[in-house]
Amino acid sequence: MSIRLQNIAKHFANTQALEPINLDIHEGELVGLLGPSGSGKTTLLRIIAGLESADRSPQPGKILFGDRDVTNVHVRDRRIGFVFQHYALFRHMSVYDNVAFGLTVMPKKRRPSNGEIRARVFRLLEMVQLQHLANRLPAQLSGGQQQRVSLARALAVEPDVLLLDEPFGALDAKVRQDLRRWLRRLHEELNFTSVFVTHDQEEALELSDRVVVMSNGRIEQIDTPEALYRSPINRFVFEFLGDVNHLEGNVHQGVLTCGDARLNVDLPDGNEELLLRPHEVRLAEQPSAESHLPVTITAISPVGAEVRVELEADWLAKPWLATVRHADFEQLQMRRGQRLFAHPRQWHRFPNAESKVTEQSRVA
């Protein structure tokens, strides 16, 4: 079921939690709401769910599920499934009773028979791989298992849309990774429309069909993960989506200088700030005609597909982070305290918040 938000705004007392927002979510899409805390993402999710109501003035907003206007429909009649960060399981009920809850509270006319409820609950428990724990109480399960129960509970009533509020936020890294993959698979299998909230950019980029980046109650950008990462619309999005290295200096006749560092750039004279991703920094033993950026290695983390190297220099206000291939790492025999030269493969620049990104590539 598609979701359409028109002109949804929300304020609490004197603070504007959400500025008027329009958002279209297609049927079967998995959309991530991404933003730092206080960006309004959870408020937006709760408004979609009906747990919070949007402002009625100055103009009332509208929420549509498919063709159904649910703006004034109570949460219990919206046919949503909601998964809470801290699971919100019913602690006095067994896993089975938790999952069956939504079915057993249906009005008599619509309620399935006991046998049918039983079959459906076990089908769901099988799907979340917890059928052997049906008689346990929530307190006897691990965090990851509890969150799977809460997901099965939400899916039991066959909701039109599934809403998840930081569903993996309270779990540790390994479990989070597993659950993410598992949710993605479940989504592909059942093809429900779902919206989830996260402050973890990696999670948003990995899981979503499209990501909605929010800050200060505004939508900054809506795009697919690839497009978002490749062409962020502004500096906030760029900085929020990953590690960023800053290079600030004065440009004069096509050369940016900052202390004893200099870099050839194709920019008019004036003060400039360039931004680089860690993988856009190449390290070498010698400077080149285009760049002279002397740095010292202060920390090395060889874990993962690439080696993460921390760089410092007099001309840098904040240390840089570079990711280097293991082969290059060994070839240069990197060690702490070593002096090298950084060469930007590419850099980005956002002259002011409103204008589009300017990117330049250099041959490394």
């Binding site: 219990r76 949503i80 019913f90 939504g102 509270v105 346990r136 006897q140 509970r153």
Partner: protein, 284 residues
């Protein structure tokens, strides 16, 4: 000597001060709790079983049990309902004056019970503010068992509020939201999701209120009217025996109140322990 050293090192605790704090606790409990109770049983030693039985089953005393237990039960039930409501209001909503209302809850604990008794008696007597309104309608509160129940409810309401309140605070609003998002109506959510959590605290609070009401004296005595066989409470019977210098008789009746209260408290504790263990997955 070496055995002693071994024993000491074997039982070394990380938290210091066990011996001292435990010793003082036991001494304090002995002086304040156990000694008076022992004194009570010492008084009983002067009675034969037949005499004891005769005292505690005397008609007027038995009538006082009925009045006391009946009124205490009504007061406890009324408190269970309104105490739950008050706790709910204090935990779930924000409103001006919330802190004041919260503080007011403890007033019955702080106020001398005799003051409360006199106030209630003057308020509900035929010429009092409330009494003059109610009596023309046929409700007589002062000098009936209704007055007794009212005074009991007044002194014991904090027990219910203060036991339910922390449990309710511990129950996140997310749980109600989850129930509602699954389609539960308010009533169903309350009955199936919220009440099961509150049961143990509510029963404990109500039980405490009931036990407290059984022993209440000061607040009731002014409003009760104290008519033999009608509105005499058990605490008054003890008082009457004392005034007649019948210490053994007073102790005999007091021991009945004591046993009933203790048995009730013990039963509540055991029941609640089982329930809490269930909530914590058999581990707590």
């Amino acid at each position: 000597m070496s055995q002693l050293a071994l024993w000491r090192s074997g039982s070394a605790r990380v938290l210091p001060g066990f011996g001292l704090s435990m010793g003082i606790s036991v001494l304090f409990i002995s002086l304040v709790l156990l000694l008076p109770i022992t004194g009570l049983f010492g008084q009983l030693a002067g009675l034969s079983l037949a005499e004891y039985w005769a005292i505690i089953t005397e008609g007027r005393v038995v009538a006082s049990y009925m009045v006391t237990i009946g009124a205490a039960a009504v007061a406890a039930l009324v408190n269970a309902v309104f105490g739950l409501l008050l706790a709910w209001v204090l935990v779930r909503y924000e409103f001006p004056g919330k802190r004041l209302l919260d503080a007011l809850m403890d007033l019955p604990f702080a106020l001398p019970t005799a003051v409360a008794g006199i106030t209630l008696a003057t308020l509900y007597a035929g010429n009092g503010w409330m009494g003059s309104l109610l009596e023309p309608l046929g409700f007589q509160v002062a000098y009936t068992w209704v007055g007794i129940a009212l005074a009991m409810a007044f002194t014991s309401i904090p027990f219910v509020v203060r036991t339910v309140q922390p449990v309710l605070e511990d129950l996140p609003a997310e749980v109600d939201e989850a129930a509602m998002s699954l389609g539960a109506t308010d009533g169903v959510a309350f009955r199936r999701v919220i009440m099961p959590h509150l049961w143990p605290a509510l029963v404990t609070g109500t039980g405490l209120a009931f036990v407290r009401s059984l022993g209440e004296f000061g607040a009731i005595i002014f409003i009760a009217g104290n008519m033999p066989y009608e509105t005499e409470i058990t605490a008054l019977m003890i008082f009457v025996k004392l005034q007649e210098y019948d210490y053994a008789g007073a102790s005999a009746i007091a021991s009945v109140v004591l046993f009933v209260s203790l048995a009730l408290l013990l039963a509540i504790n055991i029941w609640q322990g089982r329930f809490v263990r269930r909530l914590h997955g058999g581990k707590g």
